[in-house]
């Protein structure tokens, strides 16, 4: 096991396309690091550079304490799980598992022991003599995992290993991946475009966009303290609601105004983020997580309210998603545009419902997640309570979160 360190790593393809731009990332020994981002953000390229399948254009990459820039994949002591599994079709499951060990001249009894162990761990014992073609998708996926496990490498690299499975199996495999990592404790780099996978699996999650690292932090911190509009919109499902709001100060405190709604800014927020004061009298981008709304009648916390008319309600049993419009133009920012494009791109995402709402015209579409016992119905008015302590504030031009420690540090 080892830590993996990327320092100022670039990947420039012939033709000048920069797939990865000055990536700095330190993955601790035994850490589960998830690289997440929309398609084309460079996450897979970054992983393939760690694997040695892509050359590094600039910067240094070290595994353990060794710089491995020019080491071929087989000498990096890493194992990789591919999206399409890449099992050898002409070999049985057993041979697939043993192949890497055989090439490394592992003694035969040792190979047998490790294959048996991995097969037991993954429940593959009944299938050892089968060829991959005779296995189901989930079983193949487990063989691919097993092939990595038997090698007992310094690090696991996983390139969207669950994306070819159906939804139910994916949830199952996600849980067993978590378990597996707990048990083996091997440094893991995991690439996915699915932010739920990222949040549930990662010790830390690195969000990438256009080859640049946006933010790397624990899932909770990413959710609670996104560094910019892009991260805020990408992490969380349904996605965060954005609207341009005027931040004003009066005698008693600060308020946010957008369309015909007014929300107070709690005093503690101003204390936490003194930078907000610089924005008094100006417009900012306000972000509200759907989960920070609730039906005012049953809200636990009620520091601000919005009177709205529900356009659509989605009853999910554990909650109701209320989709409504706010009479303010939709946010026009390159980050928001990138997110919309991504949501439109892969149809299997459950967020981005609002973007397709036909009657939204030039209004902002909001989603609120309310208590399932709420009696809200489509077309009816509802008073929503907003937990104003959890509001997110972004600079209108740069899209950076106002007062976020990372942005404050960058400025200084």
């Amino acid at each position: 096991m080892a830590k993996i360190v990327l320092e100022n790593v670039d990947k420039v393809y012939s033709g000048g396309v920069k797939a990865v731009d000055n990536l700095n990332l330190e993955i601790a020994d035994g850490e589960f690091m998830v690289l997440v981002g929309p398609s084309g953000c460079g996450k897979s390229t970054a992983l393939r550079m760690i694997a040695g399948l892509e050359e590094i254009s600039d910067g240094t990459l070290s595994i353990g304490d060794k710089v491995v820039n020019d080491l071929p994949p087989k000498n990096r002591d890493i194992a990789m799980v591919f999206q399409n599994y890449a099992l050898y079709p002409h070999m049985t499951v057993e041979q697939n598992l043993a192949f890497g060990l055989k090439l490394r001249k592992t003694p035969k009894p040792e190979i047998e022991r490790r294959v048996k162990e991995a097969a037991a761990m993954l429940g593959l014992e009944p299938y050892l003599k089968r060829k991959p073609a005779a296995l189901s998708g989930g079983q193949r996926q487990r063989v691919a995992m097993g092939r990595a496990i038997v090698r007992e490498p310094q690090a696991f690299l996983m390139d969207e290993p669950l994306s070819n499975l159906d939804a139910k199996l994916r949830v199952q495999m996600r849980a067993s991946l978590n378990q597996l990592h707990e048990r083996l404790g091997v440094t893991t780099v995991y690439v996915t475009h699915d932010q739920i996978e990222a949040m549930t699996l990662g010790d830390r999650v690195a969000v990438l966009r256009d080859g640049r690292l946006q933010q790397v932090d624990t899932p909770k911190n990413l959710f609670d303290h996104p560094v910019n509009l892009f991260v805020a919109g990408f992490i969380g499902s349904p996605a965060m609601n954005f609207v341009t709001a005027a931040l004003t100060e009066n005698g008693t405190g600060a308020t946010l105004k957008f369309a015909d709604h007014t929300l107070p800014v709690p005093a503690e927020t101003l204390e936490e983020r003194p930078a907000l004061r610089d924005y008094f009298g100006r417009e900012i981008v306000l972000g509200i997580r759907p989960s920070d709304f609730d039906d005012a009648e049953m809200a636990a916390h009620n520091s601000g309210t919005m009177e709205v008319v529900a356009d659509v309600t989605e009853e999910l049993g554990t909650e109701i998603n209320v989709i409504f419009t706010v009479d303010a133009p939709p946010l026009e920012h390159e980050d928001a545009a990138a997110l919309a494009a991504d949501a439109a791109g892969d149809g299997d995402d459950e967020d981005g419902v609002g973007a397709g709402l036909p009657l939204a015209r030039d209004k902002s579409v909001f989603t609120a997640r309310v208590n399932p016992r709420s009696v809200v119905r489509p077309g009816q008015p509802i008073t929503l309570a907003v937990d104003t302590r959890q509001l997110h504030y972004f600079d209108k031009v740069s899209g950076l979160a106002i007062g976020h420690p990372a942005n404050v540090a960058a400025k200084a």
Binding site: K74, A86, Y88, H90, L103
Partner: protein
């Protein structure tokens, strides 16, 4: 019983009858085709077992007592044994050599891009478009200079080379459609270039290899032209040329002729029966994936 069922009943039966009729027609047609195709072969096999006198009296009859002596005489007296050995040597060696060269070239051309790779592929494929027989005069002079005339090895070389364009054409396509992840997985597992080729890639194109080899084998086994031009000594004749020599010598002995024909045809029939499955796999690869 509902009224609905009684209405649907006859209609379904009628459609069933139509389908059955179509099936029967298709069967009749296919069996008819098979009969036409197989009849000459059967006649040949049957006649080869009849004594000469019987054949003359009743050309289309069945053998009264199977006469295997025809084969023995054809094999030794008419020297079919020698022709057969020559044919086997030339065909097998040429197919193996040609395929070995093709598979190596196709692997590099199908899996890697390097400066000039496209041009090289076009050059090799151009061989498919130019009938090699047109080049017989230059080949003849070349072989004369190299001292390869009247040599079985010379024949092997022409044959092997003539098979390369087709082999490269088919195998390149096969190597191309193998998923890139496989090679990457093998590299990460620790395989070097040669092991990657030998243990991962080569086994995966086996159906294509079988197809290529079989096609070559049939073509070379039956080829009459090159040995006719390049081989002079009757001891080095291959079966097709040997047959013509036989016609002139034993033309009147039909039972011997039939035995000779069976000896010539049998290896192809056997090969086809054995390899059909692999070939079908090769031809339909990708259809069910």
């Amino acid at each position: 019983m509902s009224a609905e069922a009684s209405v649907a009943g006859p209609r379904r039966a009628r459609r069933g009858a139509g389908a059955a009729l179509g099936g029967v027609a298709a069967r009749v047609l296919l069996w008819g085709y098979a009969a036409v195709a197989l009849a000459p072969l059967v006649l040949m096999a049957v006649s080869s077992l009849r004594p000469e006198a019987e054949l003359r009296a009743d050309p289309l009859g069945l053998p009264t007592i199977p006469e295997f002596g025809n084969y023995a005489r054809a094999w030794t007296e008419a020297d079919f044994g020698g022709y057969f050995a020559n044919s086997v040597f030339v065909t097998v060696t040429a197919v193996l050599l040609g395929t070995a060269v093709s598979v190596l070239a196709a692997y590099a051309l199908g899996r890697y891009t390097f400066p000039g790779s496209g041009l090289l592929l076009i050059y090799l494929l151009a061989g498919l478009m130019i009938p090699i027989r047109l080049g017989i005069v230059p080949v003849f002079y070349l072989f004369d200079m190299l001292g390869l005339l009247d040599s079985l090895w010379g024949l092997v070389l022409v044959y092997a080379a003539s098979g390369v364009p087709f082999g490269v054409f088919v195998l390149t396509a096969f190597f191309r459609q193998l998923p890139a992840g496989l090679a990457e997985a093998a590299r990460i597992d620790g395989a070097g270039e040669f092991r990657l080729f030998g243990q991962i890639m080569l086994p995966l194109v086996r159906p294509a290899l079988a197809t290529v080899m079989l096609f070559q084998f049939i073509q070379l086994w039956n080829d009459f032209f090159f040995p006719l031009v390049l081989i002079r000594d009757q001891d080095r004749y291959t079966l097709p040329v040997g047959l013509t020599a036989f016609f002139t010598e034993y033309g009147l002995n039909q039972s011997l002729l039939y035995a000779g024909l069976v000896i010539t045809t049998l290896p192809l029939v056997l090969l086809f029966l054995l390899a059909t499955r692999q070939v079908v796999d090769g031809l339909t690869a990708g259809v069910n994936r």
